[in-house]
């Protein structure tokens, strides 16, 4: 068993270095279970401060085409919920805080309490829940509290101030600011909605705020890092693997290069 490390540890470390944290995402089981472990460990080695592992799901309403494609291939290859826990264990063993990002039904199906216990047992830091808000997440909140897991809820530009405050108060680890109105996916330009959203979260407490906004380059990471506690990158990492089908070494090289660029970016911001 690996002891759980809360994501707040990664934010504290980054803050001590006067920079933002870099949080990298990949779905479990793509290109294979072992392949995803190798990929995520590469991202840790190259500078990710925390890891989000996606649990592939048949109906991912918040994901754009890139993540959908990888998750669908993982499902087609037969990835199971238990495999996701295996990936968590292998990545958490590096000591880097390791979260699972999952739609709700697989957790409900697994059993919420059993899931929380097994996730903690595997060394997982907690969950990011894109289709659960705190006001409909009572069961998860109770289980997470019992096992001292991170509860990362999302805020959006459309969230009212009341809901931002409610969400920040219910979150542990960090608050995920989904700062464009749209699904996941790399974007050329960062959004002018992100800064104000981060400020609204900050106004309601001292939980760190990480921004997911379609970042794919070190320059974009630097820009987001200038106002947020963390920069979340997903689709751009997935793209590294999708672009090198069947060539694991090339995929890992691409991941390493991108991580290095992004890690440099979160350190470059004038803060």
């Amino acid at each position: 068993m690996t002891a759980s490390t809360s994501t707040s540890v990664a934010f504290a470390r980054a803050r001590a270095e006067d920079r933002a944290a870099l949080i990298g995402y990949l779905p479990a089981g793509y290109p294979s279970v072992e392949g995803s472990i190798a990929a995520l460990r590469t991202m840790v080695e190259a500078g990710c401060d925390a890891i989000e592992i996606g649990l592939p799901y048949s109906d991912p309403v918040m994901d754009g085409p890139t993540i959908q494609a990888a998750a669908q291939q993982a499902l087609d290859a037969g990835v199971r919920t238990s495999d996701v826990l295996r990936v968590v264990e292998a990545v958490a063993a590096t000591g880097v805080p390791t979260l699972v990002m999952t739609y709700w039904n697989p957790v409900e199906r697994y059993g919420v309490e059993r899931w929380a216990a097994d996730l903690a047992q595997a060394g997982g830091a907690g969950l990011i829940t894109p289709d659960i808000t705190p006001d409909h997440g009572g069961e998860w909140i109770a289980a997470a509290d019992a096992h001292e897991l991170d509860k990362v809820f999302l805020v959006a530009p459309s969230s009212t101030d009341e809901r931002v405050a409610m969400t920040a108060a219910a979150s542990r680890g960090f608050v995920y600011a989904a700062a464009v109105m749209g699904v996941t996916g790399a974007r050329d330009a960062t959004s002018d909605l992100a800064g104000p959203l981060v400020r609204r979260v900050r106004a309601s407490g001292d939980v760190p705020v990480a921004v997911g906004i379609g970042v794919s380059t070190g320059d974009q990471a630097a820009e987001v890092a200038s106002y947020a506690d963390g920069v979340i990158v997903g689709s751009a990492f997935v793209r590294c693997l999708l672009d090198h089908p069947g060539d694991e070494a090339a995929g890992l090289d691409a991941l390493r290069a991108l991580t290095t660029d992004l890690a440099e970016g979160v350190r470059r911001a004038g803060r």
Partner: protein
């Protein structure tokens, strides 16, 4: 009327949702991305305000009457009744404009869209019926309309794609996932997350996150309200049973709602049994699914051990959905309604029977209700005699299904005649 809640948030009548959208404290709810919560809250408020506003309700009723052709007739199907020994009454929703009950829902939601000041609507569609209805309402109210439709479905329902295009809608084929209805819903939700400030999502059934299950129910409940009044007026009694097909469940909840508090009225939903529930190729969500969360609501879901949605199957595209409206899950769990699977073959036999005994070609969706209701009618006829009364929702007409019927029965060759013995198929339905 919908805004009226008790202090506990539960309206009179124990089958209502509470203020957070839960039926029976468990079913329904709102399992949705935070990005859509503000829009769902706005919609909830607008719907409750509208339903409490006499001017809106009057406008809705006028439009339903003058444009959609309601109230639909309650028709005594005499020859059909003779075959089962009980009185079978058909609620003729097939005669509405666009040929199904769905026009009620889209007109309600489109009027609400205009009231909210939004200029664009999106919709998902399986076979294309809700897409056509949405495109119709959008044309009538001069709203931009985009319809998401699984790529598999756009290919098998090209005529409905053409209808939507003729009405001015943009049809977007969805290639992701299984490229059918559930994926069209996913894609419409993805659109909505990015367009929510000016776009309304015209959800096609009484499922999804709160307030859709209750709101769609309110827009469709005229079916049952009319049928109840018509039955009392024409026969002086309430029916012994009401019956409808259940995919997502909008026509069924539309019929059932008026009768929920009539304890003596049996309520029967008939689910698509596909090739047979034991084959695994079916869409009998309540009968064979398990509780879970899909498209924002806790309800019965066809899912595997890991909670991944399983692809459903039905000969009727309009019933081919692996979830079901959460109020049906609650009515099933509470024992107020029963839900029974009807196979593809049984539905097609009923299609032949109704065509031949009444000169009415039903939608295959509605044929499921006919098939199931005949069993109920036979039992009630034996128990209570020939005055036993069953109301069946004939939710749509069968024009759209002629391609399927042509293939199933081997029709279309005037020299050879049908390959299937239609007489025998019709007889099967009464057995």
């Amino acid at each position: 009327m919908s805004a009226a809640t008790s202090p506990q948030g539960v309206r009179p009548g124990s089958f209502e949702a509470d203020d957070r959208g839960y039926f029976g404290g468990t079913w329904g709810g709102r399992f949705m991305p935070e990005a859509l919560v503000a829009a769902l809250d706005e919609l909830t408020e607008a719907w409750q305000d509208a339903m409490a506003d006499e001017a809106f309700v009057a406008d809705f009723e006028r439009v339903l009457r003058d444009y959609a052709g309601t109230p639909s007739r309650l028709y005594h199907a005499e020859r059909l009744s003779q075959t089962v020994g009980a009185r079978v009454l058909l609620k003729r929703e097939d005669l509405n404009h666009t040929g199904a009950h769905k026009i009620r829902n889209v007109l309600g939601q489109a009027l609400l869209t205009r009231r909210m000041g939004k200029t664009r609507v999106i919709a998902e569609t399986g076979a294309g019926q809700h897409g056509v209805a949405s495109a119709t309402a959008a044309a009538w109210l001069d709203l931009d309309c985009t319809v998401y439709m699984g790529a598999v479905d756009t290919r098998r329902q090209a005529l409905n794609v053409a209808r939507m295009q003729l009405l001015g809608a943009t049809v977007v084929p969805v290639e992701s996932g299984s490229a059918t209805l559930k994926d069209a819903i996913n894609e419409a939700l993805r659109d909505w997350v990015a367009s929510v400030d000016h776009t309304a999502y015209l959800f096609g059934t009484a499922a999804g996150p709160h307030p859709f299950p209750s709101m769609v129910r309110d827009f469709c409940r005229g079916i049952g309200d009319e049928a109840r009044a018509q039955c009392l007026e024409q026969y002086g009694v309430l029916p012994d049973a009401v019956a409808a097909c259940v995919g997502g469940g909008s026509n069924a909840i539309g019929l059932f709602t008026a009768f929920l508090d009539d304890e003596g009225v049996e309520i029967h939903g008939f689910e698509p049994g596909g090739d047979g529930v034991d084959t695994g190729r079916h869409a009998a969500t309540i009968h064979a699914g398990e509780a879970g969360v899909l498209h924002g609501a806790r309800t019965f879901v066809l899912q595997d051990e890991d909670g991944q949605t399983v692809e459903s199957h039905s000969i009727s595209a309009g019933l081919d959905y692996p979830g079901v409206g959460p109020q049906h899950s609650w009515l099933a769990a509470a024992g107020r309604a029963s839900y029974t699977p009807v196979t593809d073959a049984e539905a097609m036999d009923a299609m032949a029977l109704l065509s031949r005994t009444e000169g009415i070609i039903p939608a295959i969706e509605s044929a499921h209700a006919i098939a199931g209701a005949l069993e109920v009618a036979k039992r009630l006829g034996q128990e209570k005699g020939p005055d036993a009364t069953v109301i069946v929702n004939l939710s749509g007409r069968g024009d759209k299904d002629m391609g399927t019927a042509l293939e199933w029965f081997g029709l279309g060759d005037a020299e050879e005649g049908p390959e299937t013995d239609l007489e025998q198929a019709a007889e099967e339905a009464t057995r």
